[in-house]
């Protein structure tokens, strides 16, 4: 169970506990009160049924986690009305005594119905309950002091704990909401932190991949040991520039990351006036970045060396991916790391044509 579900679970457990107390309170009070009750059995049974039904409906609502307002008002009206009917049928001297059994459970049933609502509603219900009892008491004229003390004591006894329960639940709900919000913020921060760490690692790796080749070239041009106008140096610069362009395009958040990287390389040489034809057959399976790099490095270097035209063909199925580049330029340097990733690279030349092809084949163990 996650922390978030845990917070809500405490609220549900508390709600079910309140419902159980309401049922036990109702049922346990009822048998003692109903025997010889001056209000008669019909009103007593009706009141009992309404209390139990309201409690059952509340329990169902709590378990489902639903919110209700109109239904809550309807159930409160129902329990207050049946209780008032029952109490009005009692002789005034029986108010706040054993036959007036409904006043006690009413508070717990109301608490079950109003869980999660504002506490003022619970106070209102209990006040109404007390006022109904007082009105019934006044029906026989002004009560004596002993009756008033008994009534007042009873009123406090049936109200304080229930209102405290409503207050406690309300605070518990606030704590749960705050805990959920804190947890979301923490998860969000963790995710951002993880992404930033991964991005930093990827950038460091790319930076290393670039620095191993491009930095020496730039340094050589800067210190004059390499002539920037020399054809070989110019070709090396084109290869490195296309390589950087491809490495910058290394993201997994696209439909086909490998095709995305190939297009980046193509774009780099097209800007230099090379006419490129790209053909693809099959769907490239998801490949990790180092494997894609091992697969693309040599063909894309050959592509970057193209003089005026190039043909790039990607053929893929579940078990293999091949990247083929034919150009009118020299071959690119061979990726030394290919064998580690089951990448085979071959270069074939004909007069004024170079064909470089790298093929990755899924290992037999992986296929099994």
């Amino acid at each position: 169970m996650t922390d978030q579900r845990g917070h809500r679970w405490y609220l549900t457990a508390f709600g079910i506990g309140v419902c159980l107390v309401a049922v036990v309170n109702t049922v346990s009070t009822f048998p003692f009160a109903v025997v010889g009750n001056p209000a008669g059995p019909a009103l007593n049974v009706l009141c009992l049924a309404v209390f139990l039904a309201a409690t059952g409906a509340s329990a169902l609502r709590i378990v489902r986690g639903n919110q209700w307002r109109v239904l809550a008002a309807a159930w409160i009206a129902a329990i207050l009305t049946t209780s008032a009917l029952l109490r009005s049928a009692l002789p005034p001297d029986q108010i706040a005594s054993i036959p007036d059994w409904s006043t006690g459970p009413l508070g717990f049933v109301a608490l079950a119905v109003l869980l999660g609502q504002r506490v003022i509603f619970m106070v209102g219900v209990q006040l109404t309950n007390v006022l109904i009892g007082f009105a019934c008491l006044l029906a026989a004229g002004l009560p004596d002091i002993e009756t008033l003390i008994r009534f007042g004591s009873n009123a406090v006894g049936i109200s304080v704990f229930q209102i405290a329960g409503a207050l406690f639940y309300r605070q518990l709900a606030r704590v749960a909401t705050a805990a959920e919000r804190d947890q979301r913020i923490r998860q969000d921060l963790d995710a951002r932190d993880g992404t930033a760490t991964q991005l930093a690692a990827d950038r460091a790796q790319r930076s290393g991949a670039i620095e191993s080749t491009i930095v020496p070239l730039l340094r050589a041009i800067a210190d004059g040991s390499a002539d920037a106008q020399a054809p070989l140096v110019r070709t090396a610069a084109r290869v490195e520039s296309a390589r950087m362009r491809r490495l910058f395009a290394e993201i997994d958040a696209v439909d086909d990351p490998m095709l995305h990287e190939v297009r980046a390389s193509i774009h780099a040489v097209e800007r230099l006036g090379v006419a490129v034809v790209l053909e693809t057959r099959g769907q490239v399976p998801p490949l990790p970045v180092p494997l894609r790099r091992a697969l693309l490095e040599t063909p894309m270097s050959t592509l970057a060396s193209a003089i005026s035209s190039a043909r790039v063909v990607i053929i893929a199925d579940d078990g293999s991916v091949s990247v083929s580049v034919v150009t009118d330029g020299p071959p690119g340097p061979v990726q030394p790391d290919g064998a580690r990733w089951q990448v085979q690279t071959s270069t074939t030349t004909a007069p004024e044509v170079t064909w470089t092809q790298s093929t990755w084949t899924r290992s037999e163990e992986a296929q099994a």
């Binding site: 053909e279 043909r311 053929i315 083929s324 034919v326």
Partner: protein
């Protein structure tokens, strides 16, 4: 790339056949060609007309473009006795289906070279099944188109790289049975668009590469729905000894 490749082979284009060839269908069979090849172009872009006309003028021997059409409805196959080959685009404005046009032209016994932007393998194979002599993408350009027109006029097979890619990736039940070597040649031809490179990589001659490609193309003509153009291609391949009756 400057590698000189022309036609299905680097050798001269096959001579026109002598006499009409009867196919399995009842439509008129593409007949012999005397004199320059005459071509009609159906494409909704004027610039394509101009380009193809220029390429045909420069061809050796020159090819005559009798007329270019922007709307396929303007081309009447029944009144096309002066046309040997039709170069057809598949994509027209107003949603007209190029495949329907192809079917109509093939049914009339015309040799059709499909020349389009589409590289989709399903489209390629559908066109071949309908009886197109050849399928080329517009990126395949002058050398393939001129060679394909010449091959179509002679009823000899021509197979462009995009066609090869579609055939190599063909997973249909009705595909012809290709030998492993033919499959290998197809893939390499698709990858390189260079028969010299294919020959170097497989340690065979370019003539052998051409033979493999021609056999594959003929095998494709022997499957699927019948068409007079397919029958003419098969008949010519039998005459040239590219295939035997057992192959079809």
């Amino acid at each position: 790339m400057t590698e000189p490749i022309s036609g299905p082979t680097s050798e001269p284009v096959a001579e026109p056949i002598n006499g009409p060839i009867k196919g399995p269908a009842s439509e008129p069979v593409a007949g012999p060609i005397n004199g320059p090849i005459r071509v009609a172009v159906i494409d909704d872009h004027d610039v394509v007309h101009a380009g193809i006309e220029a390429w045909c003028r420069d061809a050796d021997p020159p090819i005559t473009v009798t007329r270019s059409y922007t709307d396929p409805a303007e081309f009447d196959p029944a009144a096309s006795t002066g046309v040997d080959v039709v170069v057809l685009d598949l994509q027209f404005q107003e949603g007209r289906s190029g495949l329907d046009v192809l079917r109509r032209l093939v049914a009339a016994g015309l040799r059709v070279v499909v020349y389009t932007m589409s590289t989709d393998a399903t489209t390629v194979l559908t066109c071949l099944d309908y009886g197109a002599a050849c399928f080329l993408t517009k990126s395949e350009g002058k050398r393939h188109l001129v060679a394909a027109i010449q091959a179509a006029a002679a009823n000899t097979p021509y197979l462009g790289p995009t066609m090869a890619g579609a055939m190599a990736d063909d997973r249909r039940d009705e595909r012809p049975v290709l030998s492993p070597r033919e499959q290998e040649v197809l893939l390499h031809w698709f990858r390189t668009d260079s028969k010299n490179l294919v020959a170097s990589a497989l340690y065979i001659s370019t003539a052998t590469v051409n033979t493999h490609l021609a056999r594959v193309r003929t095998k494709y003509a022997a499957v699927g729905r019948p068409a007079t153009t397919k029958a003419a291609l098969i008949a010519r391949a039998l005459q040239d000894g590219l295939i035997t009756l057992d192959d079809v």
